[in-house]
């Protein structure tokens, strides 16, 4: 059984006991424990079930590579699924539950999949798609849906806060082991700005566990001194619990800092996502040990040898009293020695190498440990935990020589450098035959903005495996990076004595001639249940690309992204394809290195500040007066102002009728307002608008259209001539920024010699449309300026004061009524709006919203950009040819409109529609035509663009585009409906109300 040792544990504080719960069972651990260490200390070997076969699974690793031990952490609003116990720090009150089992971890019905394993081979999902079709729908899909997914989705809104922050440095060191610290010391000494990231809560990595001696003392001593030196350097920032997640273009790095994962609810943000920009990046990310592929290598109790050592040395936790070590290299002997020195039994070291000669094996032998060279594990015995192993020769097929009782197996297939961050942005790899791993190819690094290398890999991450070499390599890397960032650095490395290690021997299947039956129990990918036999099957079925094999078998597609399985899997594939591993290559490494929670990626963008909501100066009044808002770009505009007992439709209809018969007030502040000024401003506007603006007299207004260079309508609005060289251009609410950018584009990039300045003053002014037969009465009551027809006729503007407010008043109308659009400085907008309501009460003033505005403009046949236009409509399609100058030699869009297909008589053009039964044509309807097209779909001859119930006419009205346009007036056509039927409508003039335009002109 796994247990806590009475002595040792360099990372735990035995004076601080912490209580936690696993599946509701109370347990105790120490401060400094990971949840994995604490679970093992409580003999909790079984921690989860595998994804596909629901096999019992225990802890395999001690770090972020852990594939099995994922738990649901926390409760309610702080519940998080799929948390690795090996990277979860223990805290008092921690609650965890195991995943992917029903009804319980101990007894799981889904394990039946395990006995059906031969019916669930590699590519099972894809095969079920193929045939019979009914089987997918009724059999496979429900089963897969039932069993798919590991953790549960949190049900409550996340109680925590997340944030992001930007950081900049010359040298970013990713990894706080001895390599990272050494590199940082060198780079820091050069004066470069250095940031060091360490994903765990302890500096120094694995060197202290391995018992390395540095500068004549313990690794711990050197690490402590190094961290102290670095923390005293003003140019160095150390960040713990901060995982370098991804390396991107031009030295951009994302790092996930777990600020309060270990102190939940203390008010600090849970995570902080760092967006770091570094001139140079050093990856000191270490190496990950590989499992060996022997039958039963997934049973709880089978662990990586280095991880067993981590648990013993760091946390004083033993995975078992009797641990068999199985290896193909010398490093695993350190585990046997550490176990022995901790007073535990190591019945046997099973070494696949025929000849065992190293210093470490000699030391193990001296400690009295039995070593079996040239041997292998034929099979691990046990169910929910290991009870023993059967020994065989590595060269054979698995005939059992001997059974060895044990309760844990420590395996080592060699070490693979963590090349993920090197690879993210294009760093290439080279195959190292001696160590049987891929390592960074320094000749083909990721390159930055200047075309030069921007990443340096050091230490284990660079394929350098012994302590003395690691420190020298890290010092070199620190100097290279600092120099590349423009500093003078010296590669001074700490001295260390390395224990010589004999060569490892690549072992991809154990024993090498294992039978198919054994191979079907050799796990490559623990989480996704991919075995040696599955990869071999994929190869037989023709999958020769490693990328295809990955997706077909799901090898490496689990939450651990193949950290343990990648090399083993592609070695098996290469063997099955009779190719060399480098020829088969690896799959692509993509960020993040380990999963980053969505909360950190969203950062502050939640709730009220999910996105910027633009508010007019009158917004608070609208809220207070029960406005129902709709989004218009990022603006929030009142759609209508429902009164007690009214639904939205009733409110809208009341607002229309009131505006047409009495007085309506519209908050039109969102309307775009752009000042265009200069000696060439008139000429410029003549290029921008289809009509002529240079001839507009001072004091007058003119409606204008803007097109893009293809000739399609892009925006519209009223232009006012302010003085000799100044115009004010109104744009649509959604178009202000876009049109301002459009103007600047042409002024800066095409006509840069023209003397024109623009200013987007949209937000400087609050604007109110005072609309209806009583509009003038209200303004006259406020007083201050002459608003009579004679002094201020239709389509003119004037400056003055109204009720003491400084105003600019435009006589323009988008409703067809007598209308004044009045601009005041935004800071006075709220006060002016209130003053209008107060003074307007006796004239029946009511606010109206965007929907009433839309209905009234549709009743007038006015087009709306975005309704009648969709980026494929030219003004001529909308019968707006009158607004296009025939005289001008050029304007933006003129050449585009000359393309012959835009002159085709077949184009759909604007007309009005009245349903025969008075109903409203459904939004999005098409006008059907006879026959079918080449795809067997019904032909069409037009579509609706705006459709409303007109409260004024008390019937459905619509605008739409129809082949033939106004020449079709009088025809009866059919619009399709969502339910499958049609609505009959008569083609009419699109101006439904006040055809002669008498009402606004009074």
């Amino acid at each position: 059984m796994s247990t806590r040792l009475t002595r040792g544990g360099r990372l735990i504080d035995r004076t601080t006991s912490q209580e936690f719960a696993f599946n509701g069972k109370k347990m105790r651990g120490y401060a400094g424990d990971t949840l994995a260490a604490a679970l093992l200390a409580n003999d909790q070997m079984l921690v989860g079930r595998s994804f596909k076969y629901h096999r019992p699974r225990g802890i395999v690793a001690a770090g972020p590579e852990e594939p099995n031990a994922l738990v649901g952490l926390g409760k309610g609003a702080r519940f998080e699924p799929n948390q690795r116990v090996t990277t979860t720090e223990l805290f008092d009150g921690l609650e965890a539950e195991s995943q992917n089992h029903w009804p319980s971890l101990e007894f799981d019905v889904g394990v039946i999949n395990n006995s059906l394993a031969r019916f669930l081979p590699g590519g099972f999902y894809y095969k079920t798609f193929m045939y019979p079709r009914a089987a997918w729908k009724h059999l496979f899909e429900p089963i897969i849906r039932q069993s798919a997914g590991l953790g549960k989705v949190p049900k409550e809104r996340d109680a925590d806060r997340y944030e992001q922050a930007y950081a900049f440095c010359d040298v970013l060191v990713i990894g706080g082991g001895i390599a990272g610290l050494q590199a940082a010391l060198v780079a820091g000494a050069s004066g470069a700005r250095v940031i060091v990231l360490e994903q765990s809560a302890a500096w120094g990595g694995r060197a202290p566990v391995d018992g390395d001696l540095i500068e004549g003392g313990s690794a711990d001593g050197w690490i402590g001194a190094a961290v102290k030196t670095l923390s005293l350097m003003e140019n160095v920032t150390l960040k713990m619990r901060c995982m370098g997640a991804g390396v991107y273009d031009h030295g951009y790095v994302l790092a996930d800092e777990k600020v309060s994962d270990h102190t939940p609810g203390d008010g600090r943000p849970k995570h902080r996502l760092w967006r770091i920009r570094a001139a140079q990046i050093i990856t000191a990310t270490g190496a990950i040990e590989r499992p060996l592929s022997f039958a039963g290598n997934d049973l709880p109790g089978v662990m990586l040898a280095g991880s067993v050592r981590d648990f013993v040395v760091n946390f004083a936790v033993s995975p078992g009293d009797r641990t068999v070590v199985v290896t193909n290299n010398d490093d695993a002997y350190r585990t046997a020695i550490a176990l022995k020195e901790a007073g535990l039994a190591v019945p046997c070291i099973i070494d696949a190498r025929a000849s065992v000669t190293g210093v470490l094996p000699a030391k193990a032998k001296a400690l009295g440990i039995r070593i079996e060279a040239g041997k292998a594990i034929a099979k691990v015995k046990g169910g929910k935990r290991v009870t023993g192993v059967s020994l065989c020769v590595q060269a054979g097929e698995g005939s059992v020589l001997e059974e060895i009782a044990c309760d844990a197996v420590a395996m080592s297939g060699g070490w693979s450098p963590v090349v993920h961050l090197w690879s993210h942005c294009g760093g290439k790899l080279t195959w190292d035959t001696a160590n049987a791993h891929f390592r960074p190819d320094a000749a083909r690094p990721p390159t930055g903005a200047d075309g030069a290398a921007m990443v340096v890999a050091v230490g284990n991450a660079n394929g350098v495996m012994t302590v003395a070499e690691v420190l020298a390599d890290a010092a070199r890397g620190g100097a290279v990076a600092a120099q590349a960032a423009g500093f003078t650095a010296e590669a001074v490395a700490a001295k260390a004595q390395s224990v010589a290690e004999a060569a490892m021997e690549a072992v991809w299947v154990m024993p090498q001639g294992a039978s198919p039956k054994l191979r079907a129990k050799m796990w490559l990918d623990y989480q996704n249940d991919v075995k040696v036999s599955d990869v071999q099957l994929a190869a037989r079925e023709g999958y020769s690309s490693v990328e295809h094999t990955k997706r077909y078998t799901t090898l490496g597609m689990a939450t651990d992204q193949g950290k343990l399985s990648n090399i083993n899997g592609l070695a098996v594939l290469a063997d099955a394809l009779n190719e060399e591993i480098p020829q088969v290559g690896t799959t692509t490494f993509r960020p993040p290195y380990t999963p980053v929670t969505l909360g950190a990626l969203a950062g502050e963008s939640r709730g009220e500040i999910f996105q910027p909501l633009r508010k007019t100066p009158m917004h608070a009044w609208h809220e207070k007066n029960q406005a129902y808002f709709e989004p218009v770009g990022l603006w929030r505009r009142p759609y209508c102002f429902p009164r007690a007992g009214e639904n939205h439709e009733q409110a809208v209809h009341r607002e229309v009728i009131n505006t047409r018969t009495a007085l309506g007030l519209l908050d039109a502040s969102t309307l775009g307002k752009i000042i265009v000024k200069g000696p060439d401003a008139g000429r410029f506007l003549d290029m921008l608008y289809t009509g002529v603006m240079s001839s507009l007299p001072i004091g007058k207004c003119r409606y204008g259209l803007m097109c893009n260079e293809q000739g399609f309508l892009s925006d519209d609005g009223v232009v006012a001539r302010i003085d000799e060289d100044t115009w004010l251009c109104h744009t649509t609410s959604g178009g202000a920024d876009r049109i301002h950018a459009w103007m600047e584009d042409w002024l800066q990039c095409e006509w840069w010699d023209w003397q024109v300045y623009t200013a987007n003053i949209t937000e400087q002014l609050a604007q109110v449309a005072v609309v209806g037969p009583n509009a003038r009465k209200l303004l006259e009551k406020l007083g201050g300026m002459d608003v009579s027809k004679e002094s201020l006729p239709f389509m003119q503007w004037a400056d003055g004061t109204l009720g003491g407010f400084p105003v600019r008043v435009y006589r323009i109308s988008f409703s067809g009524e007598l209308s004044y659009e009045i601009a005041v400085p935004a800071s006075m907008g709220a006060a002016f709006w209130e003053a209008l309501h107060k003074a307007g009460a006796e004239f029946g003033a009511m606010p109206y919203g965007t929907e009433a505005l839309h209905i009234m403009r549709a009743e007038k046949g006015f087009i709306m950009i975005g309704d009648e236009t969709d980026g494929t409509v030219i003004p001529q399609d909308l019968n707006l040819g009158w607004a296009i100058s025939k005289k001008k030699a050029d304007f933006l869009g003129k050449r585009g409109q000359e393309r012959n297909y835009l002159a085709s008589p077949d184009r759909w053009k604007l007309a009005g529609f009245e349903t025969l039964d008075g109903s409203v044509v459904p939004d999005g309807s098409y006008i059907i035509a006879a026959g079918k097209n080449a795809n067997g779909q019904g032909n069409t001859q037009g579509r609706v663009t705006s459709t409303y119930h007109s409260p004024t006419l008390k019937r459905g009205i619509a605008m739409g585009l129809i082949k033939g346009g106004l020449s079709r007036i009088g025809d009866v056509v059919e619009f399709n409906t969502v339910t499958g039927g049609t609505v009959k409508a008569k083609v009419v003039d699109p101006v439904f109300y006040d055809k002669d335009g008498e009402k606004p002109n009074v």
Binding site: H250, G448, A449, D450, E709, W752
Partner: protein, 107 residues
């Protein structure tokens, strides 16, 4: 995420502070141009793997449009220069030629 130095204000702006404007050094063809000329102006865009000239606007900064020469494959940035340039500066062209001997020129 790219960093481009705005030639107007000198800010080394990251991509999120910029907005892209696609291919640089296009010649506008207006009324009177042939269909072929107009098509080339409007639609025929280069998409090289290698040296490319682009328009960018420092939209969250000084608001100015500028032009950038970069390698679309390696993302190496050769230089940025004002939008009021009818062709890339000579020294920039020399720099690119030195780094990419196979480069055929900006046209």
């Amino acid at each position: 995420m790219l960093i481009l130095e705005c030639p107007y204000c000198g800010v080394k702006a990251e991509e999120t502070e910029l907005s892209p404007g696609y291919e640089a050094h296009l010649k506008r063809f207006g009324p009177g141009s042939s269909d072929e000329e107009f098509e080339a102006y409007m639609f025929a865009r280069k998409n090289p793997k290698g040296v490319h000239f682009e328009r960018w606007r420092h939209v969250y900064g000084c608001g100015k449009w500028f032009l950038a020469a970069r390698d679309t494959n390696t993302l190496e940035v050769f230089g940025t220069y004002p939008a009021q340039s009818s062709e890339p500066p000579a020294d920039l062209q020399d720099k690119i030629k030195a780094k990419r001997p196979d480069w055929k020129g900006y046209k």
